[in-house]
C-alpha cells in the first residue's frame, strides 16, 4: 500500500519528481562515467603487459644504433642474452624471457642477399651488421642517424620504391609462458609454431600477410634473408602489443640477422605475487650492472602512456574526490530541498492524523524509489557517456615499447579496452544514491516533524 501510494504520489507530480530525478541522474552519471573512463583507460593501458603475461619489461635505451640492413628499433640498445639468466636467478622472479625486435630494411644490392637455398645455416654475422663492425657482441650502439629509418637520403634514392623496414621479432622457438607469442597464443596461429630446427621459417602477422597477399607455404624476403617460408600466420587481435611484429622468426635467426652476437633488446619478466616492484627494479639494475636500464611496470606504463606525472595522478585523484563530493552535495541538496518544499503537505498529513512514523515511511519510500530510479538511469547514462569518451580515446604504446618506425605509423595499432560493466560499482552507486537521498530526505522530514501541524503549515 505504501509503495503504491508513494509511486502514485511521485508520478502525480512529475515536474518535482523529474527535477529530483535529474539531480540524482546527473550526479550518478558523473560518478559512473568518471569511474568507468578511468577503469577503461587503465585496462587499455594495462592490457599489453597483461597480454604478454609479464609484470615488467626490461630494455636498454641509448643512442640509436648506426643504420644497417637489419637494425635495432629507435633507440633500443642490445642486452647480452646471458643477462636474462641473472634476472631469472632473482628470488622474486618467476620467469624471464628475451626477444629481439629488429627492423629489416629491403636490400638494395641483391648480391648481399642470402638465398634460401643456402643449406649451410652458417652465421651471417658481420654481413648484416653495422658498416664499421664495431657494435657487435652486445656492445652499446654508436650514434647513428636516428631519424633516417624510412625512405630518405641515399637509401631512398637507391631505387627502392618501398624502403620502410619490416618489423621482425625473434622469439624463443620453445613455447613459453610470457613474451610476444605465448603458449596460450598458439591457438591463434594458422599453420604451426616454430621448432628448434626451423631456420628459414617465419610466422606472419595476419594483417601483414593479407596486405602482402601471403599465404602458408609462400616465401618472403626479410632484409637480406631471402626465401623464408611462411609456416604460420598469427592473429594477434586488434590491439597494440609489446614486441608485436609483422614477422616473427626464431630468436637465433633474429640474432644472426642483427649480427651483434648473443643479444636481445627486450626482456619480459614475470614476478611472484605481492612483490614490491621498486625493490625488484633495483635488483635488476644491480644484476645488469646498469643504472640506465629502462624497466617498465604497468604503473610506469600507465604514467607513460597517459602522460601522467605523479602530480597529475594526484590531481586526478583530487578531481575524482571532488566529483564524489559534487555528486554527494547534488543528491543531498535535491533530497533535502524537495522534502522541505513539502512542509505544508507534511503539516496537512499530520493534521489529518498521520503518525510521524507513517510520514517517515512515506518519505523514505519515495526517496528510495527516486534514489533507485535515479541511480539506475544515472548508471546507464554514465555508461553511455564513457562509451562516447572511449570512442574518442585513441592511445598508442609509448615509443620505446612500440616496435614500428615513425614512417609506419599507419600500421601501429592503438590501445583499447571495452568499457567495463562493474555490476558491483553500479550496485554500490545505486545504493549510495539511495542512501544519500533517503538520509537527507529523512533529515528534512525530521526537521518538519518537530513542528506542530500548524507550524508546519505556516512554513509555506
Amino acid at each position: 500500500m505504501l509503495i503504491k501510494f508513494s509511486l502514485k504520489n511521485l508520478l502525480s507530480r512529475p515536474r518535482r519528481s523529474l527535477v529530483s530525478l535529474a539531480g540524482i541522474i546527473i550526479g550518478v552519471a558523473l560518478f559512473i562515467s568518471v569511474v568507468l573512463i578511468l577503469k577503461s583507460a587503465q585496462a587499455a593501458f594495462n592490457k599489453p603487459l597483461a597480454e604478454a603475461g609479464a609484470d615488467m619489461i626490461v630494455q636498454l635505451q641509448g643512442e640509436p644504433c648506426v643504420w644497417s640492413i637489419v637494425k635495432l628499433p629507435t633507440d633500443l640498445n642490445p642486452i647480452p642474452s646471458k643477462l636474462i639468466d641473472k634476472i631469472k636467478a632473482l628470488d622474486e622472479v618467476v620467469v624471464a624471457e628475451g626477444a629481439l625486435i629488429t627492423w629489416a630494411f629491403p636490400v638494395s644490392n641483391q648480391s648481399q642477399a642470402i638465398r634460401t637455398q643456402d643449406p649451410s645455416g652458417t652465421s651471417h654475422a658481420g654481413l648484416l651488421a653495422s658498416k664499421d663492425g664495431k657494435d657487435t657482441n652486445g656492445a652499446p650502439c654508436t650514434t647513428g642517424p636516428a631519424g633516417s629509418f624510412c625512405a630518405t637520403g641515399e637509401h631512398a634514392a637507391s631505387g627502392q620504391s618501398n624502403f620502410s623496414p619490416i618489423v621482425v621479432v625473434g622469439v624463443n622457438p620453445d613455447p613459453v609462458e610470457i613474451g610476444p607469442i605465448k603458449k596460450s597464443d598458439l591457438k591463434n596461429i594458422q599453420g604451426r609454431y616454430f621448432t628448434k630446427e626451423d631456420s628459414y621459417a617465419v610466422i606472419l602477422d595476419k594483417d601483414f600477410a593479407r596486405t602482402r597477399n601471403l599465404k602458408l607455404e609462400d616465401s618472403i624476403d626479410i632484409g637480406p634473408r631471402l626465401g623464408n617460408k611462411v609456416i604460420g600466420i598469427i592473429d594477434p587481435g586488434y590491439d597494440a602489443k609489446i614486441a608485436g611484429a609483422q614477422v616473427f622468426v626464431p630468436l637465433k635467426v633474429a640474432i644472426e640477422m642483427a649480427g651483434r652476437g648473443e643479444i636481445v633488446d627486450i626482456i619480459f619478466v614475470k614476478l611472484k605475487g605481492g612483490i614490491n616492484t621498486a625493490v625488484v627494479k633495483q635488483k635488476i639494475k644491480k644484476a645488469l650492472s646498469n643504472d640506465t636500464v629502462t624497466i617498465t611496470t604497468s604503473r610506469d606504463y600507465l604514467s607513460s602512456v597517459a602522460g601522467f606525472s605523479n602530480l597529475a595522478q594526484k590531481l586526478m585523484l583530487a578531481t575524482f574526490l571532488i566529483v564524489v563530493l559534487i555528486v554527494f552535495l547534488l543528491i543531498a541538496k535535491t533530497a533535502f530541498g524537495s522534502v522541505l518544499e513539502r512542509s505544508s503537505e507534511v503539516g496537512t498529513l499530520k493534521a489529518i492524523g498521520w503518525q510521524d512514523q507513517e510520514i517517515i515511511k512515506l518519505i523514505v519510500m519515495e526517496n528510495s524509489i527516486l534514489g533507485f530510479a535515479g541511480g539506475l538511469l544515472g548508471s546507464v547514462l554514465g555508461y553511455l557517456v564513457s562509451l562516447v569518451y572511449k570512442i574518442n580515446l585513441v592511445s598508442a604504446l609509448p615509443y620505446y615499447l612500440n616496435p614500428y618506425p615513425p614512417c609506419s605509423q599507419y600500421l601501429v595499432k592503438t590501445l583499447s579496452a571495452p568499457v567495463p560493466i562493474f555490476i558491483n560499482v553500479f550496485l554500490f552507486t545505486i545504493l549510495f544514491a539511495m542512501i544519500i537521498q533517503v538520509c537527507f530526505g529523512l533529515l528534512a522530514t525530521l526537521r518538519i516533524l518537530k513542528l506542530t501541524p500548524i507550524q508546519a503549515l505556516r512554513k509555506l
Binding site: K8, R13, L349, K350, I352, Q357, P453, I454
Partner: protein, 224 residues
C-alpha cells in the same frame, strides 16, 4: 464529545515581538453541540480551533477533550486523537493538488488495510453531496464548492466525533456557502458530531444556536 478550555492563552513570538492572540479563554462545549466562533480577521479564531484540534499547543491553560487534557498526550497519541476524533476542514481546503479528489478523500486512511466500510460510507456521502462523478478529477479541475465538499469528506472519513471547520465558506459564493453550512448541520445532526465552525460572517453565525464572538484582547468565559 465534550470540549473544555481552561484559561487558554496563546502567544506568538516573532523576533522580539510577542503577540498575545488569545487570553484567558474559558469555554465548554457539550457533546453534539454545534457552535460558531465569529470575529474579525486576526481575532484568533483559527488559532483557537487549532488548539482544540490538537494541532498546536497553548502557551497557557488546558484544552480538555472528552475528559483528556491534550497537553498530556505524546506525539503519537496526539496523531491518533486527530485521526480518530477530529475532522478538520481548512480554510484553504489544503487538498493535495497532485492527487485526484478520491485520493484526497481517502488520504487519512490510505495506509490502512481494512478500510472497505469507511470507503463505502464516504462514497455514499459523496453521492449525497453530488460529487461522486467528480472524484477522478484533480482539485484544480473542481469548482471551489466541489473542493470544499472533497475537504469535508476527507474530514469525515474516519467518522470523527468533532468537526472543526476553519472559515469553510470563505472562498464560496452565497449559494455554495449555504449548501456547505447545510452539509455541516446535516453531519452534526445525523452523525451526532460536535461541530465548531469559525467564520467572520455574522450571517452565517446566525444559522447556529450556540455562538460567541472573539475580540482580540478580551476574555471569553462561556462555561455553564
Amino acid at each position: 464529545m465534550s470540549i473544555k478550555l481552561e484559561n487558554v492563552a496563546k502567544t506568538f513570538k516573532a523576533a522580539d515581538i510577542e503577540l498575545n492572540v488569545l487570553e484567558n479563554i474559558n469555554l465548554q462545549i457539550k457533546d453534539k453541540e454545534a457552535w460558531v466562533i465569529f470575529g474579525k480577521s486576526g481575532a484568533g479564531k483559527s488559532t483557537l480551533l487549532s488548539l482544540i484540534g490538537g494541532m498546536d499547543k497553548p502557551t497557557n491553560g488546558k484544552v480538555i477533550v472528552d475528559g483528556v487534557d491534550l497537553s498530556t498526550l505524546n506525539t503519537n497519541e496526539l496523531a491518533n486523537f486527530r485521526k480518530e476524533k477530529i475532522g478538520y476542514v481548512f480554510q484553504a481546503f489544503n487538498l493535495f493538488g497532485n492527487l485526484k479528489a478520491w485520493d484526497n478523500i481517502i488520504l487519512p486512511i490510505i495506509l490502512e488495510k481494512n478500510r472497505k466500510e469507511k470507503i463505502d460510507r464516504v462514497m455514499a456521502w459523496a453521492d449525497e453531496l453530488g460529487i461522486k462523478n467528480r472524484l477522478n478529477h484533480l482539485p484544480g479541475q473542481l469548482s471551489l464548492g466541489e473542493q470544499q465538499r472533497v475537504a469535508i469528506l476527507r474530514a469525515m472519513i474516519n467518522c470523527p466525533k468533532i468537526i472543526l471547520a476553519d472559515e469553510p465558506t470563505a472562498h464560496l459564493d452565497r449559494e455554495n456557502a449555504s449548501k456547505i453550512i447545510e452539509i455541516f448541520k446535516k453531519f452534526n445532526q445525523e452523525q451526532a458530531v460536535t461541530l465548531i465552525l469559525v467564520t467572520d460572517h455574522e450571517a452565517i453565525a446566525a444559522n447556529f444556536e450556540h455562538k460567541f464572538s472573539l475580540v482580540p484582547g478580551t476574555k471569553v468565559s462561556l462555561i455553564n
